[in-house]
């Protein structure tokens, strides 16, 4: 059994699990919604998984911008190939004409 006191998890025998938790138990379990199996219900399993999830979220907020641009390029490519052009030819044509509509909007127009 364990006791959550302040921000620490105290186990039987005086050990403290995993260092200091920056959130209390209820908030950790709230962030663990949708996790698999006991990771969403049991604090000892949820806590390390939640910290990993938050690290991934922080990293992926930057990666999301890269992934979205890649998705837009795929969509523009598909749209231009329907009309006989490839993405590279299309974009170089736009550059020559100094048309500065960005890829996000171009992908919306293509869909």
């Amino acid at each position: 059994s364990y006791l959550v006191k302040g921000n620490c998890l105290y186990l039987d025998g005086g050990a403290v699990l995993g260092g200091v938790m920056f959130l209390d138990k209820a908030k950790i379990l709230k962030l663990a919604k949708g996790f698999r199996g006991r990771s969403k219900n049991c604090i000892r399993i949820a806590a390390p998984r939640v910290t990993k999830a938050l690290q991934y979220a922080t990293r992926d907020r930057k990666q999301k911008k890269r992934e979205m641009r890649s998705l837009w390029i795929t969509r523009i490519n598909a749209g231009t190939r329907e009309h006989g052009l490839k993405y590279g030819q299309f974009m170089s044509g736009l550059q020559q004409e100094n048309i500065q509509v960005n890829r996000k909007v171009l992908s919306e127009l293509a869909m």
Partner: protein, 161 residues
Amino acid sequence: MKENPPKVEPPYENDEGLITVHHPEEGVTLPPHPNQIFAVVCFKGRQFRVVKDERILIENVTEDIQVGQQFVLNDVRMIGTYDYTCLGRPTVANARVFVTLEEKPQSEKVIIFKKTRRQGYQKSMGHRQVLSMLRVDRVEHEISEEGMLKLQEKGQLTTLQ
């Protein structure tokens, strides 16, 4: 090492743009119906495709503008209607979007959590961004029949076959 080719300045800038007419047999109704015109507007480095009564959510506008105040966005990259499409190089002249600042909500809280394992380093921070909700009131493109004919003479008007 290969050098990049010298950058060539385009000969035109911020002029009327390239117009493509969709149905040359039907012609073009001018001025276009206010509900049937869209604009690609650039604001604060981001571009949005807007129609009338659409809402834009962006990071905070300057503090000079009060809630409920209407202002104009002049950086329009593209205009499209049922009859024609106008691509700006890079912006379309005589096109503007009227926008009202509706409210200034805060975004959902985002937790920034950094950790290096086995080194005792971990920190956590919360952040709520102040956003601005803009509502598009009107999209305007001032072009007349004489303007269209002038563009045809210059060679900037094309039609879809």
